[in-house]
Subunit: 374 residues, 2 copies
């Protein structure tokens, strides 16, 4: 199968993979909580080019007309969740191309002002799961593929986005990651999550997990709070066949350059993305299953909502994907903001936990990222 | 008194005024709901220079230790409120000075890179009131004075911030405004709020209210939602003795240039700020008093929390003051973020009100700002 697949354009390989992964992930959550409402499947078309499928879990608010038509669901495993894919193409404004040149040597010599807007293609899966139980962590994962093409061919609507005519590909790259955000720390959960990702990365170079783990800690950081969003995972961006500054800066692992030893061809990076993407369900679902039956108090629910306020702060103030989506004309805002929790809370000078409490324990680990697995 | 006051430096006049206004506003809210807990007064000192006083209203969460020590307050008029003043000084990084040059001719010829950081002074009052009742609107007001000085004298800590030695003032300006954000539209409330502000502005030029009203509609806008944050009020920035592009662009009012007819000296602008600041209590407190006794349902509370989600989106994504505060090292984050509501809610594709509902009514006015008073 691998040989057959590699004959297809990368665009199409990515589109097929993220569609399959989305189905598997949604099926895993639905199997975990059979009496809960199903995910709502919401297919959409982008007028400027492309399509998407949002799979969203929510329980109607008790006061809404929808709630009157079905039994009350106040004890579902999930509180709000979204597992979305999008495959879009269009024109990238010169300013955006300029910004991307820094990370892509193949774009460096491009006279952007002369060229004007350039065609782009982007395909990705993005998910955020907010469970109801404060002892069950929130999780986020995202894998995406990006192409910038020459102006030779114009994208047109109609056929499948990944099979549209395209110009010469000037640059391509992969990005993604997966990270865990608990309200209460369970060290065994953190170790399980990181171990699963480390093992999935193992066949792609000794440096891969350590580089992606460090990168994740650095990216999911809330400077104005002086704390991480969660207990980390993996993160990467701008991964292609050119030298990569983050991997290069990491130096050597086991006598080999971290940048040389990582996957570098598009096929090799896609293989890595698939291994990491396939690790999502085993990295998270067992944790969710175990923590969802833990009894909890009103005080623990309040703490969860305060921590969700911080999640909102990170996503709206710093997250590049969210901000890019909000500032893109024609973006599907409901999909961009599906990452926000159903409820969040802000208290002035709120008590973040006295020494020795379980609240202080998680604050401590957010302020000082730990190594969870070697 | 007016002649005596004008002998004082503008810094000191502003510091005195905002302190008095803060006391009056807090007193008005405390008088309105005598059985509620008092505002918490929280004085702070900024290590890099300056001080502040945060006056904050909150009811301890029922599950918190603080709640056990006092009777439950589940029916207060306010849910969360902050009335803050800050008087700070320090060094403005070259990048920030550069950004300000566009609006201030006196800074234009300054070679920022050569000069490096410049001393600044900023004094302001900032308030956000989130009432508990969904029929009572949220309100925001802010008045501030800013100075950029030459490098001649270094600010030192110790004495009152506004009385510290200063270099030559290179630029100064006032900014501010006040705006109303209802979850449910009461046309009479909107008319009362705007009428009170219009009347307070009346003696400062015929163009003042119309310019500041339009400016407010443009500033408090959430592009990704295609809607205003609320039903407006007034907004202004960079007001000094130089020509002002926003007033100039407005053209003539009653045969006179809007920019020529507005207050232009520091003394005249301060007088205007005082009249607008003093109008806060009469513009808002009568509305709050009337709406706080309206019975409300769970469905109306849900709607209020959804609208508060939008408020969070505006403040974290677009509000210049909030973003400036979040990105400023050493800023007092708890004061910067006191504008956020105690609770907010996000639903995927949430029902924003069917035609003819009271929810749709407010959505309509947010999408199409109205003239509330001539």
């Amino acid at each position: 199968m691998a040989t057959l697949q590699s004959d297809k354009p990368m665009r199409q390989q990515v589109e097929e993979y993220i569609s399959t992964l989305q189905e598997e992930i949604v099926a895993a959550f639905e199997a975990l909580d059979p009496s809960a409402p199903k995910f709502k499947r919401d297919a959409w078309v982008r007028p400027q080019g492309g399509r998407g499928l949002s799979c969203v879990f929510a329980v109607p608010h008790p006061s809404s007309p929808a709630a009157a038509q079905q039994p009350a669901h106040t004890n579902t495993v999930l509180e709000k969740a979204g597992v979305n894919i999008s495959i879009v193409h269009g024109s990238l404004p010169p300013a955006a191309v300029k910004q991307m040149r820094a990370d892509h040597g193949s774009l460096k010599d491009l006279d952007v002002d002369e060229k004007g807007a350039l065609p782009f293609f982007a395909a990705g899966i993005s998910l955020v799961i907010h469970p109801r139980n404060p002892h069950a962590p929130t999780v986020h994962a995202n894998y995406r593929y990006f192409e910038i093409a020459d102006k030779v061919a114009q994208a047109s609507t109609g056929s499948a986005p990944s099979q549209q005519p395209q110009g010469t590909v000037l640059a391509w790259w992969f990005g993604g990651g997966s990270d865990l955000t608990p309200s209460y720390l369970y060290e065994s959960d953190a170790a399980h999550f990181h171990t699963t990702l480390r093992d999935a990365a193992a066949s792609h170079g000794a440096a891969l997990y350590p580089v992606l783990k460090k990168w994740c800690d650095e990216y999911f950081y809330i400077p104005h709070r002086g704390e991480a969003r969660g207990i980390g995972g993996i993160f990467f961006d701008d991964l292609c066949d050119e030298d990569h500054k983050t991997f290069s800066a990491f130096g050597e692992v086991g006598g080999e350059s971290a940048d040389k030893g990582r996957p570098r061809s598009a096929e090799a990076i896609l293989k890595m993305v698939k291994d990491l993407g396939n690790a999502f369900v085993p990295s998270y679902v067992p944790i969710l299953k175990q923590r969802s039956s833990t009894p909890y108090t009103e005080a623990e629910r309040r703490w969860q909502l305060l921590r969700r306020g911080r999640y909102v702060e990170f996503n709206l103030v710093y997250d590049r994907g969210t901000r890019f989506g909000l500032l893109t004309p024609g973006a599907r805002i409901e999909s961009v903001l599906m990452s926000l929790p159903e409820e969040a809370r802000w208290e002035y000078m709120s008590d973040m936990g006295a020494l020795g409490t379980r609240e202080a324990e998680v604050q401590e680990v957010l302020q000082k990222p730990r190594v969870w697995v070697q």
